[in-house]
Each structure stands twice: as structure tokens, then as C-alpha cells.
Amino acid sequence: MLPEAINRRTLLKTSLLAGGGLALEVFIPLPVRALAANGAAADAAPAPATLSVFVSIAPDGIVTIVSKNPEIGQGIKTSLPMMIADELDCEWSQVRIDQADADAKRYGPQVAGGSTATPTNWLPMRQAGAAARAMLVQAAAAQWNVSADEITTSKGRIYHATSGRSSSYGEVASKAAVLAAPDVSSLRLKNPEQFTIIGQSVVGIDSPKIVKGKPIFGIDTRLPGMLYAVYEVAPAQGGRLVSAGVEAARKSPGVRHVIPLTGNGDADQGLADGVAVLATNWWLANQARKRLAVKWDLAAAQGHTSEAYQEKAEAAFVAGIGEELRRDGDPTEHMANAARRIKARYQYPFIAHAPMEPQNCTAVYEGGKLEIWAPTQAPGGGLTMIQKSLGIGTDNITLHLTRMGGGFGRRLMNDFMVQAAAIAKAVPGTPIKLLWSREDDMRRDYYRPGGWHDFEAGIDANGKLSVFTDHFVTFQGSDGKAARAADMNLSMIPAGLVQHLRYGRSMLPTVVRTGPLRAPGSNALCFASQSFLDEVAVAAGTDLPALMLSMLEGERREIAPRDGRGPPFDTGRARDVIQKVLQTSDWPRKPQQAGRAKGFAFYFCHQGYFAEVVEASVTGATIAVHKVWVAGDVGSQIVNPMGAENQVKGAIIDGLAQALAGQEIGFVDGVVQQSNLHDFQLARIQSTPQIEIAWVKSDKPPTGLGEPALPPVIPALSNAIFVATGTRVRSLPVRLKSA
């Protein structure tokens, strides 16, 4: 939680629950910073700076909590209610959770992105629980005619020790509902040692439904009379529809409609041109689609080919920095005078998100009203897109949030939602479910952008890193700015830790849609910068953890981010996780087997501090990862250890797959060359390493875990490969030549 939010005015509203009981709504002002904390929020509808929490307690003691954030597997539908329930001081078994619809006016930001939900909600959720508890206590005190100070609570019951009286929450809930709400500043929150639910391993709220195959995902939505839709778009990015031969498809079995749709020319943030095929069964619709005869204008994407990008990037390095973004001290002079200079170029490819549930959305349009069921990480952004592309006002849209079969950032973008809305609008009164094939999903992603870095570092006569420069070649969107998720992080380590520094940028225009992928920016920048710093450390006669620790020496200090975005970097927290992982991995002990070695890396992103060590072995061109040690600091409290550990392990394996599974998206004239999971591979069970996690609990409030564990594992791996083989990995995915 960001402290400035606490002092602003929090409002409570109570009412009698239908059927008796207490309904409590808490309105909490949010700091503006929480709204703009990540790239996703920029695409979301402007949300009011108020967050509401709904809690109700029925006469039978059942506590119902409305979960406002989208659930993609990060566990937020379980962990936010845990915060409320703990301060309410009830039992977790009393709690039921309802998923909220999209309603920014009511709930504030509803985004699953940027690992922001935990820090944003940590205090408000607890305040809501504490407020409800205070009202129940007050109601019992009035009923028993005793002072509220003499009353205690435990596990959903209220006790008055002196008189021996007790009551369940349910029994006093209706009486509490007619009381005036308490002043938020009077609420006493628990000390961490009093927590009974926070910090316990709690099974995910939807898990019992998942193991039984209950319909809870977006793709499972079924409505009476619903038709199944596919949407054919141009094979190349930004292609326009010239003509559509639809007769053969229309005559195919099960087909009800074939509808060419003209988009609004904005394939990135609007409706792409395409042809919708609607049938009584999705497979029939997809079969019929093969019989479409569509002519596309693909001119916009001519020349947007991976090899051409590579050539342009190399030319940009020769031409020199296009734009200086950050300069500290005098890097030019100090580089010239350095006792030793190290230069290297790094690069990484475009990659896809490939969530298991392909993009889909169900919609029905009738009488000017649109109702949608969408697996989306950023509902607000989808509503804005529909309004802009189809002219349906957001007041006329009801958006139900479904559980998502993974997101990883893909579902922050809502192109599938605007397509479903457009198709539904073309067949008023008929519900439609749009579903993309895996091939659609692979070829219509908003990819993690590729990038190139030309690094140089200078070591002074004392063996100290004194100057560091990076020329970053990245992609430029149609608005002239860096493409989405393709910008430089001006605070990228070692900025702030080295006296003389330059970060510069050159940009290549692209028509390819780019977007945030789990730990956006960081997932690539960390690989490049921590791998290069390992080279610097070796050149300086030391190793990377020692180099990092030497830069973090001295008084614990906070370094403010250069561009004013995001939290400060705390040198003490960084030092602590590095020292922790050196200890848990027994860093000084080197593996004895030939071709087997350890590598280290550290990174700070999304408010989390992570240091990781990978032990890997190389046989010929084959790499095996045996063990990964993780030390992480995400604040003073792990909310749900069971969920937290799963997030970290998933992030580690995800990062390793980016490096080792050959993940790369290539383009020829804007046409994506990959199509399915055979040519874009994901991690599989047999390559799962042992992963050991150590939490470093600091004095800061808890922050999110969906992302920050991922970035360091990639350079920790590449640095291990260097020790094992003597070969530097300067390009992803890792491709070693057989010895």
C-alpha cells in the first residue's frame, strides 16, 4: 500500500442485507500513482481514484466478499478476501466469494497486471474487514449493554468474558446494519502476529471446481441459442480486407452467417478487418472458414521481416545513439580514460504469450445494449475499445469477468473483446461465442518485442566499475513513441549505482503489435544487463554477486526512479536477497563435474527484489538445469504461502523456457512464421528443475508476485552456461553449437 492513501478520507456505507444481515461497502480513496503504476493502466479506461470493497454477513454467519480483480491464476480471488477475512476475525470456511462484474465507477481499477493488486489493496482490504468487525462488536456491546472495549472476537464469534456471554457474527449482523459506520481512523488493525488467515496456506477458492471440470472459464460460457464464431483476419499485421468470397463457406454444414466486417483501420487498439463465420458448433465454423476466398491488401507490412530488422539494428549500432535518454557524470571522458574497457552486444527475439486458453469472448447485442462475458485482464480497456470502435456507450455495456486460462499480459489487450462485440452487433438478439484457434492466438498476439543492446563498461585503475553505457535498439509504434512494452527503463541497474552512465536509444519502425509479457521490459533488460555485468565482473577479476554487492556497499539508501515512475530502489533490500541466495545456494561450492556450473543474477522490478542462482550442465549442445535457488523480498508478509510459492516456481520455469525451449516469433513481410505449440514450445514436465525458495522479510508492506521472480533466472542460466563452457550466451533463445 502506498502510504499517502491512508490519510485521505475513507467512507463507509452500511445497509441491511436482503433477508437480514449486514452489508458493508467501504470506499477508499486511491493515490493516483496506483492507477498509473503499469503499462496496462495506460490502456485501461480512466478510473476514479476510489476503490470499493463489499462485505456482507448473513444471519447464518456466511460472509460473502465480492472479489473485484480479474483472476488469471495469480490467486488474487483468494488472497484479497483473505486480507478482509483476517481483520474481520472470522473463519475462512465461513467465507464465500463472488466475482464482480466490470464497473470502474464502483470498484476502481480492476486490472490484473503489473503485480499491483497486492500493494494497492493491502491496507484497504484489511480496513474493510476491520470496519465490519468493529460494527459487529458495537452491535453486541449495545445488546449486552457493555463497553465495546470489553468485547473480544475469535473465529467468527463475539465474546464478553466478564459476563460469559457470546454470540455468533450472524446473530448480531442485522443489528450492526442499522448502526452508524465507524470512523476509519479509529479502526485498529491487527499486528502481524495476530493474523489467523494471512500467512496461512489457503487452497484457491476455485480449485474444487477446477478439478471437477466445472464451467468457470471464459471459453465455458454457454447461452441459449448461442452460435459459435471464428474471425478470419489478414495473415499479415495490419492487412486490409479487399474482397470476400463467402458463398462456399455459407453453404458449409452448420453455418448460419458469414459476415465480412470492415474495421476502423486500427488493428492495434480497434477492430481489425475480417470475416466472421457463425455456426452451430465451433469446429463447423472453423471448417467453413477454410472455404473462404478472401483477398487482402498486405502492403502495410511489406519489408517487416526478422532478417531486415536484424540488419537495421546492426546499422543503428554503426550510426550511433539516436537519442540520449539518461546521462550521469561524464561517461565519454571516463570511458576514454578507463584502465580496462569491455564491450558486448546482446539481443533477444519477439516472443508470444501462448496462454493455455485461446482468446475468446461471448457477447449478445439487443436493443442497443451489449452484454459480454470476457476473460480479460483489463476490462476497462476493453470497454473503451468497444466504445471507440463500435460506438456503443459504456453505459450500455454489461461486462461479466470470467476466470482466465492464463494471461501473462496477453489479456491486458482486448482485441478479442471488440471482435466479439462487433460480431454480436451484426446479429442482434443472437448470442455468439467467438473463439480463436491456437494458430489465431499465436499469430495475432501483442508480442514481447525483440531488442538489441550495445553495452560498454569501463573499469578504473582500482578495479572498480566506473562507467557504463547502453545503446538500446528497440521498436517504434505508429505514434512515433517507443512501441508498447518496448521502451528503455531509465532506472535499469546499474543506473544509480555507477557514477558515469549513458543510456541511449534508437528505434526501428514496426507494424507488429507489441505488448506487455510477464515482467514487461524487465524480462528482456535483465537478461541483457545482468549477463553483460557478469562479463564485467569476470574482466575485473571478481564475480557478479561480488560486483553487485560492491556497488550496493555503504549505508542503506533509497534511489528514486529517474522517470518518476514506480517505487524507489532500496539498496539494503537488494543486498539482503543477494546475501541470502549466496548462502542458500552455497555459492562458494562449485560443482565438480565437468560441464556443470552455477550462475547468478539479481533484479528489481514490480517492487520485488530477487536474487537467483542456477546450477546447470552442458553436454554438447544440450543444457540441463538441475537446481534453482531463489531469494526474494516482497515485503513483510507473504499473504498466501501456497500461492506465492506457485507463482515463483511458475515464473522460474517460464523464464527457463524462454531461454531453452527455442521460443522465438519470426516475421516475413509481417506474416508470423510460427503457428502452434510444435514451433513455439512451452516448458514440459520432464525439464522441471528442483527450485528452492527463501523469503527475505523486510520492513516494507507486501507487494505482488506475478512477475518479479522471472527476470533473473534467464541471466543466472546464461552466466552458468558461460562458466560451464566458456561460451557467452549473448542472444536468446539459447542455441549452443555441438562441441
Binding site: G213, K214, R222, L284, G406, N646, N676, I685
Partner: protein
């Protein structure tokens, strides 16, 4: 074509072309949506069902090939002792993150335990290699299968 399919101990009548994959009969014709669509190419295992007790990718199984076959899906696997043990173990270690692939994972695991009641880690990995979990809950999948096989006690907390 009209087909009588034996699914989850019940007979269902469907009308579909012979080459329609079982996946789409289950999901769109019968409303059994627990079986998931992931890749449509037999690469991810999300659509795994049992045909006569063997794990099979329903996206690669034409409905026309299923006359007289006994089909079991995730909606019914809990009725078998192995399926029930797996579901219980899955919850005990809370295997899942997003959960989308887990129906297929459980179906593959149930087929494995059907013919190999006490699998080694290598046997588990080999039987489960065709099932992708994008969230990478693989450590817990291994643990849950071992628990369901009675080879591992409740790990209380999975490290």
C-alpha cells in the same frame, strides 16, 4: 450422421459429421465443457479424455471412430477410485494456478495410475510429457500423482 456415444456411463445421441473431433461433440453438442480446447493438434493435452480406459486426445479423435467405445471425461472421473484420489491430492497440494490444463492433467494421471499404480518419477514424467501446463505447476503435479498413488504422505507444505 447420428451416433450413440457411451459417455460417463450414459448414452448420448448426437448428430455430427463423422470427422468432427470428439472434443467439439463434448463441448458444443453435449455441453460437457470440462474437457478443454488448447491447440487442436494433439500437442498440449488439455483435451485428454479416456476412451476404453486409455488416455486419448479428444481433439484428434473423430466421432466416427467411437462406436461402442466407453468414454470418460473429467466430469465423471471422480466417480472412479483413482480419479477421486487424484482430485483429492490435487486439492491437498493445490496444484493449480490458472487451472485451465488441469482437467487434461488429471485425465492423463488417472490413465497412468490405471496401468501403473506406483509410478516412478520417470514414469510420471513420461506419461505426463504430452500435457502442457503454461503456468508450470509441474512440481506439484508430480507430488499430487505420488500422493494419489500412496507413495507420498501429505507434504503438509510443498517446498
Amino acid at each position: 450422421m447420428k451416433y450413440k456415444l457411451h459417455i460417463n456411463e450414459r448414452v448420448h445421441e448426437v448428430e455430427a459429421p463423422a470427422d468432427m473431433p470428439l472434443l467439439w461433440v463434448l463441448r458444443d453438442e453435449l455441453g460437457l465443457v470440462g474437457t478443454k480446447f488448447g491447440c487442436g493438434a494433439g500437442l498440449c493435452g488439455a483435451c485428454t479424455v479416456h476412451v476404453n480406459g486409455a488416455a486419448q486426445r479428444s481433439c484428434q479423435t473423430p466421432v466416427g471412430s467411437l462406436r461402442n467405445a466407453r468414454i470418460t471425461t473429467i466430469e465423471h472421473i471422480g466417480e472412479t477410485p483413482v480419479g477421486a484420489r487424484l482430485q483429492e491430492a490435487w486439492l491437498k497440494v493445490d496444484v493449480m494456478q490458472c487451472g485451465y490444463c488441469q482437467a487434461g492433467q488429471i485425465m492423463s494421471a488417472a490413465a497412468l495410475l490405471g496401468h501403473t499404480p506406483r509410478p516412478s518419477l520417470d514414469q510420471i514424467n513420461s506419461a505426463m510429457a504430452g500435457n502442457v501446463c503454461r503456468c508450470a505447476c509441474y512440481n506439484r503435479i508430480q507430488t499430487a500423482i505420488q500422493m494419489a498413488a500412496g507413495m507420498q504422505e501429505d507434504p503438509s507444505h510443498v517446498a
